[in-house]
Symmetry: C5
Subunit: 354 residues, 5 copies
């Protein structure tokens, strides 16, 4: 995750608005898909060149252009020129280390957020930048990589499920954001499972790896927090409905999404509280274990040191020392020693110290 | 409690407003009870089908429909259709993981809060979602499970105790919320007893279990805090009396409830301070105990190590070593060793290390 | 102090405004004293029945009715009825677990605060609820128990000291609040002495009891904080002088009281900082002591273990071992051992470990 | 410093505005000095009786009356009467435990702040209360003790350095406050040196005294914080220039002082962060040292315990035990033991444990 | 870095606006470079005397005067006199310990910020004060030392890259601030690498030096925080565009810079969270190591103490003690001892304790 904090340093000295793809290429080719719909009709196609999308700009129906891959400067530039997007915004789209934010340019709204998913392979949270441009009758979305996260929305458009076909592009933008927020819940569910697992581990047998896991979890929560708080602001601005691009009928749906982000924030904060509580528990149980170890040492030393001293004392040459019968002679002694040694080893195995 | 953080992940991809019961069924059957009253008359019945409630919608008297169980989609849908409730609200009612909130739709107010009670069987706090719809002359309340928490209110209506029969449905909604907040006090009392018990335990004999209890308590307080702060907001919105559904005469009663939530918050925060103080005490007393253990070890080692060395040194073959009389010979030695050994064991038993 | 958090749970299910004395009786009898004064005249009497106070309601002079004991429902009810106090306020007066607050009912102002004093017998802070009703020409004050805290004010009225006889009842209410805040300073002085004593103890010889005292102090400060912050709000509302019952000439005196509450808050926060610093010191000095203990152990063990091994090694049967002269024989050995043993014991006594 | 928290408790029960000197006398005699100036003329004198100042009240030139010592009730009372100062303000002047504050009485402004200096003798921060009354053409300043802190300002007036002689009394008041804030920087410089010294000490050899110093520093910073935050408020109120006594040309100078207080606050907060970091370092290095000590002990014990056991085992009577040549006999053994013992002592001296 | 907190104390007692260079000289000579440009023409020169710049004041083209070195009072004074800068501002320019701030004097805006770079030689962050005066058609920038940080901007002007030549001086001021903020990213990248390195170190082998590095990092972050927060305020004031010197077309570029400062702040806060997490990890792993050490000690002691006692016990003179064959005699014993000793040393080497 740390890499996210570094990329911003690459462009020092360039004039603002210069389009440079700071990332190594992420997808081989930029993939552009286009969906155009209104209540009556529906049209979907994979376009080869960006110019194919241009005629849709002025059609009254809702047009959704989704672009997977933001590394080709010429594609971004052409779209920017045709749809009248400010160069600084084009720069933000390509420079995929933005903090979630919203900018309202009256004739279009620019929204950039973080798409979060849990990558089971690397067992960590992955983030991707999603930029949305909401115009009067179009939505353009830019994803860093190809992904199928929006397929359920495409399906709802195709099958005219729910009210999406009857609504304006602001509802489509809402649907995209709703999906993003829903994915936070999936990640939280994953983290919740991790926390539960760790709590059990803490009680049964805490190891240094537990500490490592707590630390990782803490960092994941810091990361989530860093994305979700500004996302909340973004949605709060939209939900206030001050732009003419947001229709009154969509506001209640945006408020619903807003409530969900609040719930995400609540859960993240609760998780943080719980994780920091786990660290306390860990440290205390370390301290407990140490205490136990020291008690064993002290008991053994306190019993055997004086005895050994006494044995040593009597080992000197006293006069008239009567001789005692040694119970079973040396064999007995050796057997006794082996028994004592094995008992000790068994004791420590039992305590999981060996 | 953790399960609460997870359920929200189940609905990803569905259009908003889709009614799906996310929980496993909680009550076998949905139970609907209806009370209709004004100052002059009173009527109470258990209804079989939801349609029986519909005629009451337009009666001038106050109608209270209480629904136990929110898992049957068709019941919720029918009520929603008849009383004109927005689909998103119906979704919130069925999706029992809401954060407490209030939404004002001019012709009705929707309130969702957490009902808290202490389950002695599992020795933990249980929470249940309560949704309230306050209309111009009706109150509809949705509980997750059957419960008798509102029986005192029913009783007050039946017996015309206090001013409830003379007031409008906003007073009934206030009475429901008042009961909810009162139950927070009962839970706090329980936690207060726990804290008191634990403080004593901390002083007399702290064990690793004490730490576990502190941790549990901390989580319970985090949980309470998470429910009570938004509840405060909800009541604060109502108490401002901006909706035409809230009458001026009810506002002072809502302010009373508001004061109670502030008191709950105050107490929760105080408990949090106390519990985190207990953790400090616990760690310090661990450290104290370790110190004591180490002192015993050090004293014993420091006295007997030099002595043993001296005994060993003198055990070598010195010239002209005179022989001393051994006081009571080997029997004396053995008795002495046994006495010393037993004294040590008694000492550690006394310190509760054994 | 914990008991304060629990009493609120007793009334669940009753309609609001029901008067029930939740506390066990505190004073055997309710004691009512009445003072009536203006610049020209002064009258003071102990009244037997509450009805004796009623004629004073409409006299133009200032009337101060002080009621010690709030457990008799009928007394509170009669006053409420005669002076036109809202039932919820009467309930607040009797239910002595209120959070400090102010409510402005235009024709009277209701103020409830915590009176704090340090009880030397139990060596802890005690709190009592004081309710004040400020009307256009009367002040009614309710104390939980008999007390002489307001005697200096009575004296100022009797002897016409200062400007109290020339002022309206708002000045009298101010004088009551001023006295309350002054008592916070006395408690703070007490705590300041405790802290100073503890700081010395921390430096000279910290014991587990020191930790207990730090913890107690911390709780006392949490408690003070819980009472003084809302008291500040109460006085701040009064000092804004928005009510017609507060005259302009009194506002500057209320600001003076307000400044004092700020000073109390400042001091409480400083004490909290200091106490939490003391906990750090305590833990560090524990750690220091442990370190010292371990060093002694390590030094002793590191010197004598190799020596003992060498002595043991040479104790074996070497060939041609020449015999050395033992300086003073066994008596010398025994004397040497006793000297070493006593020196060690003296050393640990000196370190206060024994 | 703790004494500051206690003095306020002395006056309980007196009517507000009663002048009582709460402190033991601080200066033997009250010393009054007077400077009167405008752009053209300048006059300075030491006055014997307070009445000598009175004629200056209505002169158009700027008059600065500086009073060292606030313990003589009659002096304060006379000034109060002549210059029309409210009794509560006179009380605040004499009661030298005020929190910095400002009060605007239209015809004069009252400011009370803390003058801070570092007393090298007691090696601690000392504070003194400075009260300023700014009238339309006079400034009266009250210091607790005689001091020469304002001599540079007197000098600027005498020599007409800078613009002070051309400006109104508000500029003089600004100059006094500026001097006060400058003295905070001197104290901060002192603390900065302490911190630097301590950081070095922490790295080279931390001792329990280091902990004590950290604690003292922490308390000094708490103390500074307590004085500087309200001072910031005071200057912020002045700098807003809402009073007619503050001229527009002075506002920019007040803003300059305001910037300085912000810098003081910044530095105090940074120091606090650093000091609390030092505590962490201290605890960690304690823990490190303990670790090292324990390792030495464990290594020694782990090597010699088995060896000693083996030596003891072979010390028993085995059959046909061949006799070995002892290298240099007992002298060799004794020399070896002494060498080992001295080496160990040297090792611990090197580690600074002895 | 600490030195920054001290310099402010040097000027106590001087009237405000007195120009004194508080720092030891930083550059041998003051270096003044001048660039004058508009869309059509471009002129650049190194000036010898400050007077050469004066004619440019009233030219309609944009003039950028950059001054390296602020230690020569006469240079600063001459510029101040000619361009009409307030003496307090000149003082701020020379007194290079300012907190970042902005002051708007209608006909010019004064901005002072911290320029941050990472000095690889001393392996620490270095800061330098940059003061900017933005007039209607000029920008004057003051750097403490000569530096080439602004060369890319000079290049953009020379080669007419981007829109800089077409814009007003406010765009130039924006470009300077943009460069400053970009350098924060470079420093953050450096710190990010440090953190990553340290995280690995923490996992593989934490040493006391790690602790020292964590502490240094913490201080660097405190330092960054102290500069970036007020920088954010500065840019936020500019971006609001309330001054007539800021043109509407520049505001969007300033908002871009503002977004970058937010990103810097975000990253600094995240780093702080991570670093404080690392301290926890460090302490825990210390505790873990101690635990391990103690376990080894306890296991060894618990096994060998009883055995040694038994060996000592049997070493006494028992009757009829049969003699056992010693396996390989003393050579065997010595070999066994050496093997055991070496095995132990190898074990501790393996654990990195030796």
């Amino acid at each position: 995750m740390l890499k996210l904090f570094r990329k911003a340093a690459r462009k020092v000295g360039l004039p603002p608005g210069t389009l440079v793809q700071v990332e190594e290429k992420k997808a081989e080719k930029v993939r552009i898909s286009l969906i155009d719909y209104d209540e009556a009709q529906f049209q979907e196609k994979e376009v080869e060149t960006v110019e194919e999308c241009f005629p849709f700009k002025d059609k009254p129906s809702v047009t959704w252009i989704n672009i997977d891959g933001v590394h080709q400067v010429e594609v971004i530039e052409k779209i920017g020129a045709h749809f009248g997007i400010h160069p600084l915004i084009l720069e933000d789209i390509m420079h995929t280390v933005q903090r979630p934010k919203i900018e309202d340019f009256e004739d279009y709204i620019f929204v950039v957020v973080k798409m979060i998913y849990y990558d089971d392979k690397i067992n960590d949270i992955e983030a991707e930048q999603l930029s949305i441009i909401l115009g009067p009758n179009f939505v353009i979305s830019f994803q860093e990589k190809e992904g199928d996260i929006f397929n359920p929305i495409r399906d709802r458009i195709r099958k005219a499920k729910g009210r999406i076909r009857k609504m304006k592009p602001d509802y489509l933008a809402h649907a995209l954001l709703d999906t993003i927020v829903d994915h936070y819940f999936i990640v939280l569910e994953k983290l919740g499972e991790k926390i539960e697992g760790m709590e059990e581990e803490l009680v049964t047998k805490p190891t240094p790896e537990t500490l490592q896991s707590i630390h990782t979890l803490k960092r994941e929560l810091i990361f989530l927090r860093k994305s979700i708080w500004p996302l909340r602001e973004v949605i709060s601005v939209l939900e206030r409905g001050e732009s003419s691009l947001i229709h009154k009928s969509t506001v209640i749906y945006l408020r619903d999404v807003y409530d969900h982000t609040i719930q995400v924030i609540d859960t993240v904060e609760t998780f943080r509280d719980m994780v920091s509580g786990m660290l306390d528990i860990y440290l205390s149980s370390m301290s407990n274990k140490m205490n136990e170890v020291m008690k064993v040492l002290t008991i053994i030393a306190t019993i055997f040191m004086p005895l050994t001293f006494l044995a040593g004392l009597y080992g000197m040459n006293f006069k008239h020392m009567p001789e005692l019968e040694l119970p079973w002679g040396y064999p007995g002694l050796l057997v006794l020693m082996i028994v004592v040694g094995l008992a000790m080893v068994a004791y420590f195995r039992n305590k999981k110290w060996l």
